[in-house]
């Protein structure tokens, strides 16, 4: 804590406050004052009083309309300040917020969805309400398909057998718009069809994200994806 010199008179303190508000102090003295302001109530009162006295001088300045970018920028920065769920330091930037990734996947996903959707529709008697094709993030090769005949339960169907390292497991995740982060739907064995009730989650919505990530055999230790994405796709409502 920095306080003023013990022998500082009220006059000297007021002078310091006035030149601080006026703006004529050097960088060093400014930072000194700013540190003192945290604990020095007398200096704070003197500064506040000078701020009030001189505020009217701002009237001498012509207003200037900000560019259209400024508010959205402030809005983004404010949003970024909101508390997020804790994540381990080593984890890379939250990939589920990477817009370019979704953009890149959208096209490939849609095409595959339509093709496979049509295929599946001819084979099942119950018409699915949602379809998702999970593709590899790099090669965009379809690996799994998800179908939901009702919004409360989904089936994860493998399109082939994928290789998973012996000390790893595939974990199934979903995230809809507005959720804080992905929610785990459990571990998945390669090549196995899986039915997953969504009773603990809100009903499926269009564009809801699904993915499979590589995690420890017991699943992610933090309840959020930590390993690389193996397959990813978004829900499409079947007309």
């Amino acid at each position: 804590m920095i306080t003023g010199p013990a022998d500082e008179t009220q006059e000297e303190r007021d002078e310091l406050a006035s030149e601080y508000v006026l703006g004529t102090l050097s960088a060093e003295r400014r930072s000194e004052v700013q540190q003192r302001l945290r604990d020095d109530a007398e200096l704070r009162t003197a500064v506040d009083t000078w701020e009030r006295r001189l505020l009217g001088l701002t009237d001498l300045v012509e207003p200037m309309t900000p560019t259209a970018h400024l508010w959205p920028r402030i809005e983004r920065s404010v949003a970024a300040l909101q508390p997020r769920p804790p994540q381990p330091a080593a984890q890379p930037a939250s990939w589920w917020n990477l817009l370019p990734l979704w953009r890149a996947l959208a096209g490939a996903g849609l095409t595959a969805t339509l093709l496979l959707g049509a295929l599946l529709l001819t084979q099942t008697t119950v018409k699915p309400t949602y379809l998702v094709v999970l593709v590899g993030p790099q090669d965009k090769a379809p690996g799994w398909v998800i179908q939901a005949s009702n919004p409360r339960e989904i089936q994860l169907i493998p399109l082939g057998v994928v290789e998973v390292p012996a000390d790893k497991a595939l974990e199934f995740w979903t995230k809809a718009e507005g959720w804080q982060g992905p929610v785990s739907l459990g571990l998945v064995k390669p090549g196995q069809t899986l039915s997953v009730p969504l009773d603990k989650l809100p009903p499926l919505v269009p564009d809801q994200l699904f993915e499979l990530t590589l995690e420890n055999p017991t699943g992610s230790p933090i309840g959020k994806p930590t390993g690389p994405i193996q397959f990813i796709g978004r829900a499409v409502k079947v007309i």
């Binding site: 002078e15 030149e19 704070r44 009030r52 207003p63 200037m64 900000p66 508010w71 920065s77």
Partner: protein, 173 residues
């Protein structure tokens, strides 16, 4: 000084509760003036927008701790913005000693256009001393820059400013 019929305190309190619309309202209400103030100090529009951006983040994060007993909410927004700009220009001390070409507003100074008490009190000062105060507060000039600008010795400028501030304090109370 026209203080529009806008409840700054209520909006700031709403920001303190996390209501983003209140920040938006404050922005719409005050950003052109704040940007004008910042631009005048840092002389660069993009930089001035950076300052106003940072100021609004400070306003947002500091809103809950704002103490109305210490002054008006509107005044606080100006203080936050000015001190960010002043910190910047002092930290990146401008090499130019009073060179920048800015309108010399003190020459066109007309107290009757400004109703606030400060303008009445400013009018009581000698024109040279008034210039010192305005160049410092509005343009962010250092003592040395004012000395250069007015062609007056540094020691004289420092003494003028000190005495002018004392006179302003006595005039304004």
């Amino acid at each position: 000084m026209p203080e529009p019929l806008f409840d700054y305190e209520a909006h700031l309190a709403a920001c303190g509760r996390g209501e983003r619309q209140a920040l938006r309202d404050l922005y719409v209400q005050e950003s052109p003036r704040l940007l004008g103030v910042a631009k005048r100090l840092v002389r660069d529009t993009a930089l001035a927008e950076d300052i106003v951006h940072d100021a609004f983040l400070k306003i947002w994060t500091g809103a809950a701790r704002f103490d109305p007993a210490r002054g008006s909410a509107r005044g606080w927004m100006y203080s936050v913005t000015r001190h960010l700009a002043l910190n910047f220009i002092r930290d990146h001390s401008r090499e130019t000693q009073g060179e920048p070409d800015v309108p010399i507003i003190t020459e066109a100074f007309d107290a009757h256009l400004h109703s606030g008490r400060i303008h009445h009190c400013l009018e009581q000062l000698d024109p040279d001393r008034r210039s010192c105060i305005v160049h410092a507060y509005v343009d962010g000039y250092s003592h040395a820059q004012i000395s250069h600008k007015l062609g007056t010795p540094l020691g004289t400028v420092k003494a003028w400013i000190r005495r002018s501030l004392t006179a302003l304090r006595e005039c304004m109370g």
